[in-house]
Structure formats: structure tokens, C-alpha cells
């Protein structure tokens, strides 16, 4: 038997979508109509223009106070979902993410500052839970690395071109003996 290493709580099943007969007939008629391509284009355009990023937040989780809810969402967007890992808890529909969203809101309601809420979650899960890694000794390479690489590259480039510029000056000028030999060669190539 192959063991799964670890599991996550199951997601609630979405309620089955059932279309009524009337809906089906109406859709059928619409599909047959000559307006179909135009309608589709308009619908796509509208969907593109009107689309807002949909969070996974359940309306029942939301706080009544809009200012507090906004803070909760801002915090949630910075916290990593531990199950899906590259999603924020605000975007993830994993159950643990939902519980973390509720926890963030409960703490805000109890009067915690944004900093205190984030610090609590970090104290449980470590810096890993932050989608923006903090700047400290262990993350120095992470933050300074790209800049350092760029600097190395630019230095290399500068060195390369400086050398190239030196070469463009051409070889050193001829001395007297060489000039005399050149003159002789030009006059009589066989000598």
C-alpha cells in the first residue's frame, strides 16, 4: 500500500447546478439566433472588462465593518496558504485557508493591530507563511542576490568594453627601423 504522505481536509462539494427546462429552451433559442457571434463577443468583452479578481472569501466570513474587512483582506493577501502554497489565504479555497481568514478577522475584531495578527501567524508557521519574505540575515542572498548578479554582469560588461576600446586604438606606431623597412618594401617588393 502506498501511503499518502499527508492530507488536507476535504473541500466542501459544490452544490450541483440544475438548469430548469425553461432555461434550456431559452438557451437553445438564443444559440440558434443570428445574434450568436455578436452576443458571444459582447459577453466576452463585458466579462473581460468587468472582471474583478475573485477571492475565495465566503460572504459569511466577512466582517460588517468595511474598514476592518479591508484590513483583513490586506493581511490575507500577504499570508500564504499552507496547503496550496503559492496562493494567498485570501485567494485559496482550501479549508485551512478559510480557518486562517476567520482567525485573522477574529483577531482584528479583538483589537489586534495588523502587525500583531501577522506576527501571530508567523509565530505558528514561520516566515514561510509570508508571501513577501522579510529582509534579514537569512534572506540577504534572496534580496541582494539579483542586484549582486546584475552588478557582476555590468562589471564584466564594462571590463569587456574597456578592453575593446583599447584595441580600437590599433597597434603601437612603427619605430624608425620599421618605417625604413616599410619604405624599402614599398619601393621594391622583392628586396
Amino acid at each position: 500500500m502506498r501511503l499518502k504522505k499527508k492530507e488536507y481536509p476535504p473541500r466542501p462539494e459544490a452544490p450541483a447546478q440544475r438548469a430548469s427546462k425553461g432555461d434550456a429552451i431559452r438557451r437553445e433559442r438564443w444559440l440558434r439566433s443570428a445574434w450568436k457571434p455578436a452576443g458571444t463577443a459582447a459577453a466576452l468583452l463585458a466579462a473581460t472588462l468587468l472582471a474583478t479578481p475573485a477571492g475565495a472569501v465566503d460572504p459569511s466570513e466577512m466582517l460588517d465593518d468595511p474598514a476592518l474587512e479591508k484590513r483583513a483582506q490586506e493581511i490575507g493577501r500577504e499570508l500564504r496558504c499552507l496547503v496550496c502554497q503559492n496562493e494567498s489565504i485570501e485567494d485559496s479555497n482550501a479549508e485551512l485557508a478559510g480557518d486562517l481568514r476567520v482567525l485573522v478577522r477574529d483577531r482584528l475584531k479583538d483589537g489586534d493591530s495588523d502587525r500583531e495578527v501577522v506576527d501571530y501567524v508567523v509565530s505558528r508557521y514561520g516566515d514561510y507563511v509570508l508571501l513577501t519574505p522579510p529582509f534579514k540575515a537569512e534572506t540577504l542572498l534572496l534580496w541582494a542576490g539579483p542586484g549582486a548578479l546584475l552588478l557582476i554582469g555590468l562589471t564584466g560588461l564594462a571590463l569587456f568594453y574597456r578592453r575593446g576600446a583599447g584595441e580600437a586604438d590599433g597597434p603601437p606606431p612603427l619605430n624608425d627601423r620599421e618605417r625604413a623597412r616599410l619604405a624599402r618594401l614599398l619601393e621594391d617588393p622583392d628586396s
Binding site: 501511503l3 499527508k6 571590463l159
Partner: protein, 178 residues
């Protein structure tokens, strides 16, 4: 011009390559716990359906114990369960259970009735209060807690006889003596 300068890009590539290579094959879900050598977070869970006593952080003081996060929905927990029952039978260490995120209140007790109950106390954690406090990311996870209520070890995934004899049992023996 110094020749060594041409080696710099090669060295950078090799160092980065080595770094990436060393991280290959690592399970990204194994996140090192920040709670090792920290006190157990305060929690107080209600009992599961049909039980009198719940499970709180105070129950962990005074003896070395194993805290196990499980759920009846979790197949890996089922796989691990027989081993926990055996630990209980051998009286090696008291096991405390956190019944995590059951869909309904009878699921956990029914599961324990069917597969055996190795737990000294079980707490019901439907909304991840204790699970989050323990920094749990999935089930099963197990923690070794010493007499003073300090978390000493965390195991992610099902407990196996190998991990037990090689790592956990020696640690428990050491903690019992201290």
C-alpha cells in the same frame, strides 16, 4: 587582462546550479516547525461527541506525551492508526488526540469506535483553532511534548515503526530521564 575574470560567470552558474540541485526532490509541504523548543500554545478543546472530557494544553504538563492530529477524513491517519493503538498497548507514551476538522460531530467518535481509540484524551477541533496554534498544515502530524509542556519534536505524515525506533522512541526515553 586577468584571465580569471572569465571564470566568474561559470562559477556563478555552478554555485546556483548546485543550490538548485540540492533542493531538488525536497517535499515543499515539509515545512520545518518554528515551534520546536517552544511551549505548547495554550488551547482548550471541547470533548468529541459522547465524551466527558476535552483536551487542553494543561493536560500535557507533568509527563512526556505524544500529541497526534488526525481526522476521520484522512486516509493516511487510518494507515497510521494501527501503529498508535500498538503504542498505547505497549504503554510507551500517553497519546493525546486533536480531532481536526470533522464534517459532522459524530464522524470522529464513529471512526475511533471502529478502528480503536489509542488516545488518553481527544479534543474536537472543527475550526482549526488548536491546529493553527500548533502550526499544522495537514494530517497526520505528531508532536512530542516534554514534562514541562515544551514541544521537542514534530513528525509530519504517518508515524512508522522505523521513525519510531530510530528517532522518536530514543527521544522519549531521553526526555523521560531528564
Amino acid at each position: 587582462m586577468q584571465r580569471w575574470i572569465y571564470l566568474v560567470p561559470l562559477i556563478v552558474v555552478l554555485v546556483l546550479g548546485g543550490l538548485f540541485w540540492s533542493q531538488l526532490g525536497k517535499d515543499p509541504h515539509r515545512i520545518d516547525s518554528v515551534l520546536i523548543n517552544q511551549a505548547v500554545p495554550p488551547f482548550d478543546l471541547p470533548p468529541i461527541e459522547g465524551r466527558q472530557r476535552g483536551f487542553s494544553s494543561a493536560d500535557l504538563l507533568g509527563q512526556v506525551s505524544l500529541v497526534n492530529v488526525f481526522g476521520s477524513w484522512c486516509i493516511a491517519c487510518r494507515a497510521e492508526h494501527g501503529f498508535l493503538v500498538r503504542i498505547k498497548a505497549n504503554r510507551e507514551v500517553p497519546i493525546f488526540g486533536i480531532d481536526w476538522r470533522e464534517k459532522d460531530r459524530t464522524a470522529g467518535p464513529a471512526w475511533l469506535a471502529r478502528h480503536g481509540d489509542p488516545y488518553t484524551l481527544v479534543g474536537d477541533d472543527p475550526d482549526s483553532k488548536a491546529a493553527i496554534a500548533f502550526g499544522v498544515t495537514g494530517a497526520p502530524e505528531s508532536f512530542i511534548v516534554d514534562r514541562q509542556g515544551i514541544i521537542r519534536y514534530k513528525h509530519i505524515g504517518p508515524l512508522t515503526p522505523e521513525v519510531w525506533t530510530e528517532t522518536i522512541k530514543p527521544l522519549i526515553e531521553k526526555l523521560k530521564q531528564s
